[in-house]
């Protein structure tokens, strides 16, 4: 095992050669990190810092070659399903059938960061009236216009109802630009009334049976469309097989998270962990390969933990992170400031939970869909955050506000108040746009102050 370290982009050049010369096995999409800057214009990579393992390199290469896989799938005659907003339900259905590939157009929200605005996606969105007051996911509409980052899907689905207005509005504009959408309803999850039959959902939330039944009926509509697209039925047996495969990925991720978040010395940086978690939603357009990539990362982490080595000092303050960041550099910043990740809630905690295999598959999927932290109350979400932060031994919490996102306007305060009152932990709310360069001093001050506060509390 190579000594774990966080290295710069430039260091990766020589490190890559060393690893290769030492016999590193590379997949077809492998190669040095620099090729994504030279060939793909992913200039943000120049400013990031990385874990130095071969497993992490594979993770990055897998992430940054998704477009190639989608185009290859199209060339092979596979059908593409763009699953918008829904995080971790429809992709499970799509990947159950051999000739479908699902992807997540919302993922375009990182393109302005990775390409440092050079793709012009936000400008295109602005020119369509979707300006900075909307969530950075507005980059997605630009990606549909340019068709430069993913091929147009054969079927586009989007969940609406108890979702954020930004997304719903942006998706509607997309439909107005002649990209037909199969809309499906996800109702606002509520607590069951007295005497109302209820179900405990993954994550510990409760919901009335009637809501689960409703979501199931909505997913049935998706099932029909997916079957029609694939030209073969998505029967329960096939779907159950797909759920088992999805659970394999979720189990790997679960072990990875537990190991990384609870290890005495942090074995894997926050940035690589964020990317690893994202794979659970959509598999970067290849579920089987995603499993292999995560397995390799898990193997690396197991080895590091068993040897008691890692990438940060043992004194790093354990921070629980709420919401994904539009600028990946922010995750580096946390570690620069003396923190480490020890728990996350990136708005898709339900996509990390295992899907019940002992239930009829559509019932199990409906339960997972309804366990989405976004469709419930901020109180519910805060409770899950509190439980996880407690379980992982968090010493502080960062709530990363997504600029323009309708849910962030009020949710952060609710979560912060509950975390403070129930756990007594220091909390800070920050806002992270796609490029933070000009804000780094401000962000650094906030994060350092949080870390200092946590340290003082421990003294």
């Amino acid at each position: 095992m190579n000594e774990p370290r966080i290295i710069s982009f430039d260091e990766w050049d020589s490190h890559y050669i060393q690893l290769r010369d030492a016999g590193m096995m590379e997949p077809s999409y492998g190669g040095p990190l620099r090729r994504h800057v030279d060939d793909g214009g992913d200039t943000r990579l120049l400013r990031l810092r990385y874990d130095n393992s071969a497993a992490s390199l594979r993770l990055w290469n897998f992430l940054l070659t998704e477009e190639d896989r989608l185009r290859a799938a199209r060339a092979e005659g596979k059908k593409l399903v763009g699953t918008m907003k829904d995080l971790g339900t429809v992709p499970v259905m799509a990947y159950s059938l051999p000739n479908l590939v699902a992807f997540y157009p919302d993922g375009a929200w990182w393109i302005p960061c990775v390409m440092e605005m050079n793709a012009g996606l936000l400008s295109i969105a602005s020119s369509l009236g979707i300006d900075e007051t909307f969530c950075p996911v507005r980059a997605m509409i630009g990606a549909f216009v340019t068709q430069a980052h993913f091929p147009l899907p054969d079927l586009l689905t989007c969940s609406v109802g108890a979702t954020c207005d930004d997304f719903s509005a942006i998706a509607q504009r997309l439909e107005g630009l002649d990209h037909p959408i199969l809309w499906w309803e996800i109702p606002s999850r509520r607590h069951p009334d007295t005497n109302e039959a209820s179900i405990i959902l993954p994550g510990g939330f409760s919901a009335p049976v009637s809501q689960v039944e409703f979501v199931k009926s909505e997913l049935e509509r998706i099932r029909i469309s997916i079957s029609n697209l694939a030209g073969m039925p998505l029967d329960d047996k096939t779907l159950a097989r797909g759920i088992r495969a999805a659970n394999r990925v979720r189990r790997i991720l679960s072990e990875l998270r537990i190991l990384v978040f609870t290890a005495e010395i942090c074995p894997m940086p926050a940035l690589e962990m964020q990317i690893a978690e994202m794979l659970a939603i959509h598999y970067c357009s290849d579920r089987e390969e995603a499993e292999i990539v995560l397995c390799e990362l898990l193997t690396e982490v197991r080895a590091r933990v068993s040897e008691g080595v890692g990438v940060l000092s043992a004194e790093a303050v354990r921070v629980f992170w709420v919401n994904p960041v539009a600028d990946l550099r922010t995750m580096n910043l946390l570690e620069d400031c003396g923190g480490r990740i020890c728990g996350t809630e990136y708005l898709f905690a339900h996509a990390l939970d295992e899907i019940r295999e002992d239930l009829p598959p559509m019932e199990a999927l409906a339960r997972i869909a309804l366990a989405d932290p976004m469709v419930g109350s901020a109180n519910d979400r805060a409770q899950r955050i509190i439980e996880d932060a407690c379980a992982f031994g968090a010493e502080a919490v960062i709530i990363s506000r997504i600029p323009g996102a309708s849910h962030c306007a009020t949710e952060g305060e609710v979560i912060a108040d509950l975390v403070r009152s129930e756990l007594g932990l220091p909390v800070v709310e920050i806002e992270v746009p796609p490029i933070t360069d000009a804000m780094i001093p401000t962000l650094r001050t906030r994060i350092e102050a949080l870390i200092e506060t946590a340290i003082r509390r421990n003294e």
Partner: protein
């Protein structure tokens, strides 16, 4: 009519006033005042205004929120702590093209009924409900019929007054405007979200600039009226419910009139809104469209450019920001807009 005992406040047009009144409660769709302190960053100024308004409504027995807008849905969570009143969050489906969405709306009305029953102790009969549907339907029709004789502001205020207190609404016809007073004014459509109390001044500003609102497509205006109930059908429905002759479903009729009719851009897809707008533009001879939206209102703001492109008419976007309606800046835009229409 049932005796009114408790006031239930709300802001969303998808909450049927008839259903509340049938439970012996007083429905009240309130018109908040724009807050002077401004909304926190990212918070829709209307949602903020509503939040502050409900805290001042001391006589309200309960507050109903809906899921039509994400910010209002989320405010419902903190409202209980602010007001110490029972809160009901009603799921209003955003989709509408499949029977499941209609069923969900109808089921939510039944759940709302159970909530209201706890407050009033009244479980209304079908006859009670149809009686109120018939009464409210007639008042709405009277208001609509009065439109030609009222100024645009009077018409919209009358509509708002009815929504605010439909149980005790009496038609007090404002003085008709002098004949021909609109002759030199340009007919425009005003569309957008709900109005706050001071925002009604926009009707005057539009007239000052040389136009008049021939179509009030705001959430407070005629756009959000439920479908007119067919008098004869309602009468038959009522009779059969009173005599217990049939199992016809007045709540279903009510649900259809609201959920199946109100055109709004939050719906997915929102094609029905465009269909309605096209029809009204043709019917009323609209020469220009004014969209008034709130800062951070994603639903309307995202559609602005599409409406402008689609309509092919002069189009003006007015941003109702934290400071509320700022007359001088608004008037400037309106004057320029009228110049554009006349060129």
């Amino acid at each position: 009519m049932l005796q009114v005992s408790k006031r239930i406040i709300y802001s969303c047009p998808f909450v049927p006033a008839e259903w509340i009144a049938a439970h012996g409660l007083e429905p009240s769709r309130i018109i908040p005042k724009m807050t002077s302190s401004g909304a926190p960053n990212g918070v829709c100024p209307y949602a903020q205004a509503f939040t502050e308004a409900i805290a001042e409504e001391s006589d309200a027995a309960a507050i109903i929120f809906t899921t039509v807008c994400d910010q209002m849905r989320r405010i419902s969570e903190t409202a209980a702590a602010r007001t110490f009143k029972p809160i009901f969050l009603m799921n209003v489906p955003h989709t509408w093209q499949n029977p499941g969405a209609h069923r969900l709306y109808r089921d939510e009305l039944e759940r709302l009924g159970r909530f209201l029953e706890k407050l009033s102790g009244t479980n209304p009969s079908g006859g009670d409900l149809t009686g109120i549907m018939s009464q409210y339907g007639e008042i709405r029709q009277q208001i609509l019929d009065s439109r030609p004789n009222l100024t645009a502001r009077q018409f919209s205020e009358m509509m708002a007054a009815f929504h605010h207190n439909p149980c005790c609404f009496g038609i007090l016809m404002p003085k008709p405007t002098p004949q021909g007073s609109r002759n030199n004014l340009l007919p425009v459509a005003l569309i957008g979200g709900p109005l706050t109390s001071e925002a009604f001044g926009i009707f005057d500003l539009i007239e000052q600039a040389g136009g008049y609102v021939a179509l009030d497509g705001t959430e407070t205006g005629e756009r959000t009226l439920p479908a007119a109930f067919d008098r004869r059908s309602i009468a038959i429905l009522r009779l059969s419910n009173i005599l217990r002759l049939s199992k016809d479903d007045p709540l279903g009729t009510l649900a259809d009139a609201y959920f199946g009719h109100i055109p709004d851009p939050f719906r997915r897809p929102n094609s029905e809104f465009f269909k309605w707008l096209k029809q009204m533009i043709d019917e009323r001879g609209i020469r220009g469209i004014i969209l008034r939206h709130y800062l951070w209102c994603d639903i309307w703001r995202a559609e602005a450019q599409r409406i402008a492109d689609w309509a092919g008419l002069p189009f003006l976007e007015l941003d109702a920001g934290d400071g509320g309606l700022e007359p001088s800046r608004t008037l400037f835009r309106l004057e320029a807009f009228m110049e554009v229409i006349t060129q």
